[in-house]
Symmetry: C2
Subunit: 140 residues, 2 copies
Amino acid sequence: MSNQEKFKAFSMDKFEEIHQHTFRVENSSFKKESKLFLKELLDLSGMEISYNIFKPSEEMPFFHTHNENEEVYIIVKGEAEFTVDGKVISLQEGSCINVKPQGSRSYKNLSDTDELVFMVIQAKEDSLNYANIKDGVIVE
Amino acid sequence: MSNQEKFKAFSMDKFEEIHQHTFRVENSSFKKESKLFLKELLDLSGMEISYNIFKPSEEMPFFHTHNENEEVYIIVKGEAEFTVDGKVISLQEGSCINVKPQGSRSYKNLSDTDELVFMVIQAKEDSLNYANIKDGVIVE
């Protein structure tokens, strides 16, 4: 983002283009197809966002927690099943779940025929000072 | 979110249910149909998220900036046109734009026949310490 520009955009024609992206971990052979992190593409500094597609029946192979970030999962298309600290939650289009850093979570695509499209947003817990419309200023 | 529960979920069947929600400003007659803020529903503390639907050709009636939050707009369905500091950007499904706090932005539904479904995410600029997978810990 240049000094002149106060925005940065990333364009797709449809969510299915997530399939064109593979996430690779530096200095590791680990990779995850159909996963795209947006922080660098959008020059984000207060949040991280990833776009994800799971194949039919695909599931996370492990549980994970976070050190300091809360994490929100939003289902864009399809149906997911989350397990957090042993509790099971089913979520479909438009549904979302906030998992606190210490929550041990895993998730899977509930469908054996349709893909699951979802996004994940991380932000530092307790970092937001002004929510709703309280941080906005109308330009006269 | 109870002490026992490290998550909070909000369920919909589809994004069109956003129409069931009207955002009202405290101590004001202002209201906005088809807008839902999620911070309280999800017990968020590091970000604010809103779900929004604009009718065909609907547009924001003003420009606005922010004091300290960066703001990401993600197009879920339809096509939007953003204007930020005089520059015009068209975005469709899956596309997104990060507007820095000082960016003066307005936006509209480019279609005169279809609804525009989009989400807006705010987080405090420069508040994120660990992005990507760097904040995560695999549970053995």
